[in-house]
C-alpha cells in the first residue's frame, strides 16, 4: 500500500472504532500526515461529532485507539492529544505528534492535561 492508501485505511479503522465505542456516527472528516519546519511530525484526524464528554468518559479507549492508529503508520505515539475548540465541548481533532525539542519543552513544561485552552493531552512520554 502507498501512503495515501495507508492513511485512508487508517482513517476508516479509527472512525469505526470510535463509532462502535461511542454508539454514534462520529465522522473523521480528514486524516493527514504532516511534517513541520520545526521538526515535529505526525498525524491529525479532524473530527466532527466528537465531544469533550466522550473524551472524559472514554479517554483510555480513545487514547489506545489513537496509539494503534499511530503505530500502524510507523509513527511513534509519544505525544497524543485532542484539539478542542476553546471554551466549548467540541473536539476538532485527534493528534499523534512526534515533538521536536523546542515544542517538547512547550508541552512538557506543565504537569496538567491542558497546557493550552485548546489542547487536551491524552498521553505524553516524558523525556529524561
Amino acid at each position: 500500500m502507498n501512503i495515501t492508501q495507508k492513511l485512508s485505511k487508517n482513517r476508516s479503522v479509527l472512525e469505526n472504532k470510535l463509532r462502535d465505542l461511542l454508539a454514534k456516527p462520529v465522522f473523521l472528516i480528514e486524516e493527514d500526515a504532516f511534517a513541520l519546519p520545526c521538526g515535529c511530525c505526525g498525524i491529525t484526524a479532524n473530527a466532527r461529532g466528537l465531544q469533550a464528554d466522550d473524551l472524559e468518559i472514554f479517554e483510555d479507549h480513545i487514547a489506545q485507539y489513537l496509539k494503534e492508529a499511530s503505530l500502524e503508520l510507523d509513527i511513534e505515539p509519544s505525544f497524543l492529544f485532542a484539539r478542542i475548540i476553546p471554551g466549548t465541548s467540541e473536539i476538532a481533532s485527534l493528534n499523534s505528534r512526534v515533538l521536536c525539542n523546542r515544542c517538547y519543552m512547550d508541552f512538557a513544561r506543565g504537569s496538567g492535561k491542558k497546557p493550552r485552552p485548546d489542547i487536551y493531552i491524552l498521553s505524553l512520554d516524558r523525556r529524561k
Binding site: S12, R19, A23, K24, P25, R48, I85, T88
Partner: protein
C-alpha cells in the same frame, strides 16, 4: 415556468461552465467586491468591478439575468458614516452603470437607498429573516421589489400564504439552504461571516465555532437533517401558488454540483442522496444518506405540522427508518442503518 436563481462562484471560467449547457437558468447570482459591502456567507470569488461588467455582459448575451449579492447582516455601522455611505453609494453607482439586474441586500438601509436612487431590482435577502406578513410589509414599504423568504417558514404554508397575501412584491424561496430548523447560531454565524467576508480588518479566527456546532448537532441528533426546512425538487410545484421563483444556494460549490442541482430542480426530480443537493452541511455529505425518493409524501405531514416535536415524533421516526450512514470497511464504502452506528434520534 419556474424562474431559477443559480449560484455562481464569481469568475468568468466558472460562469462559462455554468452557462454552457441548455439548462433553464433564469438568473445567476454572485458576491460582489467585499471592499464595499460583504456577504453573509463564505465566497470563493471576489470579482472586481470590471470582472462583474464582463460577466454581466456574458450572462446577458446568454439571456440570463445577473444578480449581485451584498447581503452582509452586520456592517458594524460603517454604512452610517459619511465615508462609508459615500463609498457604498459609489459602488452602487458602478453596479447600476454596469447594468446589473438585481441586488440582494440584508441591511434595511440599503433596501431604502437602492429603491430610491437606482433602477436595479431590490431583493431582500434571507438574512433579513422575513418570516411573517408583518415583516414582509415593512420591507415592501422600504422599497423591496422581491423578498427571499426566511426558509424557517418553508414548511409553514399558513405563514407563506399570509406573506403572499400581505405584499404585492415578488417572493423567492431558497430551496436547499439546509440550515438547522430554528438554528440558535443563525444570527451570530451570519454576522461573523459578514465581518469575515466584508470590509474592515480581517479576523484571525482559529475555528468557526458555529459550523462545528452545526455539524455536531446533526451527528449527535440526525433527525435535525430531516427537520431542516429544505424543499425537495419534486415538491416545488406545491409552492406555485406562493411563487414561481426559486433560488438554489451554494456559491462555494463546484460548477458540477451546481448543475446537478439545476437539473434536479428544473426537472423537479432527483433520484439520489438528498444530501447531494443541500448547500450547508457539506462536510457531512459523505456521512449521511437520505434517499430522496423515500421522502415522497412528507410534505403532506409537514403542511399540517404544528412544530411541537415532543408531541409528534414524525421526523424522529422517519429519520430512524430511512437515514443511513456511510461506513468504510476494507476500503469499501457501505451504507449502514442509523441504529447500528448509534445516532440518538
Amino acid at each position: 415556468m419556474m424562474k431559477l436563481y443559480v449560484p455562481h462562484v464569481g469568475h468568468m471560467e466558472g460562469l462559462q461552465d455554468l452557462l454552457s449547457g441548455p439548462d433553464n437558468i433564469y438568473a445567476i447570482y454572485m458576491a460582489g467586491t467585499p471592499d464595499y459591502v460583504g456577504t453573509g456567507r463564505t465566497n470563493l470569488g471576489a470579482p472586481g468591478i470590471e470582472e462583474i461588467r464582463e460577466q454581466t455582459e456574458y450572462a446577458h448575451d446568454k439571456g440570463v439575468k445577473m444578480e449581485i449579492v451584498l447581503n452582509s447582516s452586520c456592517m458594524g455601522g460603517q454604512h452610517l458614516t459619511p465615508q462609508g455611505f459615500n463609498k457604498i453609494h459609489w459602488y452602487f453607482d458602478r453596479l447600476n452603470d454596469i447594468g446589473i439586474d438585481s441586488i440582494t441586500v440584508a441591511e434595511p438601509y440599503f433596501v431604502e437607498m437602492l429603491s430610491k436612487d437606482y433602477n436595479m431590482e431590490v431583493v431582500v435577502s434571507v438574512l433579513s429573516f422575513v418570516d411573517s406578513p408583518q415583516k414582509a410589509e415593512f420591507y415592501e414599504e422600504l422599497g423591496a421589489d422581491t423578498i427571499v423568504v426566511d426558509p424557517v417558514v418553508n414548511r409553514d404554508f399558513a405563514k407563506l400564504e399570509a406573506i403572499k397575501e400581505s405584499v404585492t412584491c415578488g417572493l423567492k424561496l431558497l430551496v436547499n439552504e439546509g440550515c438547522l430548523y430554528q438554528c440558535p447560531f443563525r444570527y451570530a454565524h451570519f454576522n461573523f461571516f459578514s465581518h469575515a467576508n466584508g470590509p474592515g480588518p480581517k479576523l484571525n479566527v482559529l475555528d468557526d465555532y458555529y459550523y462545528y456546532k452545526c455539524l455536531s448537532l446533526r451527528i449527535n441528533d440526525p433527525q435535525q437533517l430531516i427537520k431542516s426546512p429544505w424543499i425537495r425538487p419534486e415538491d416545488t410545484k406545491r409552492y406555485e401558488h406562493i411563487t414561481d421563483t426559486f433560488k438554489i444556494g451554494g456559491r462555494t460549490h463546484f460548477t458540477n454540483w451546481i448543475l446537478n442541482n439545476v437539473h434536479a430542480y428544473t426537472n423537479r426530480d432527483y433520484d439520489g442522496n438528498l444530501m447531494d443537493l443541500l448547500d450547508c452541511p457539506r462536510d457531512i455529505r459523505d456521512l449521511f444518506y437520505i434517499p430522496n425518493k423515500e421522502l415522497k409524501g412528507t410534505l403532506d405531514q409537514w403542511k399540517q405540522c404544528n412544530k411541537i416535536c415532543s408531541d409528534c415524533g414524525y421526523c424522529k421516526r422517519l429519520t430512524e427508518r430511512i437515514v443511513r450512514v456511510y461506513s468504510v470497511d476494507d476500503m469499501q464504502s457501505t451504507l449502514q442503518p442509523l441504529k447500528s452506528t448509534g445516532g440518538s434520534t
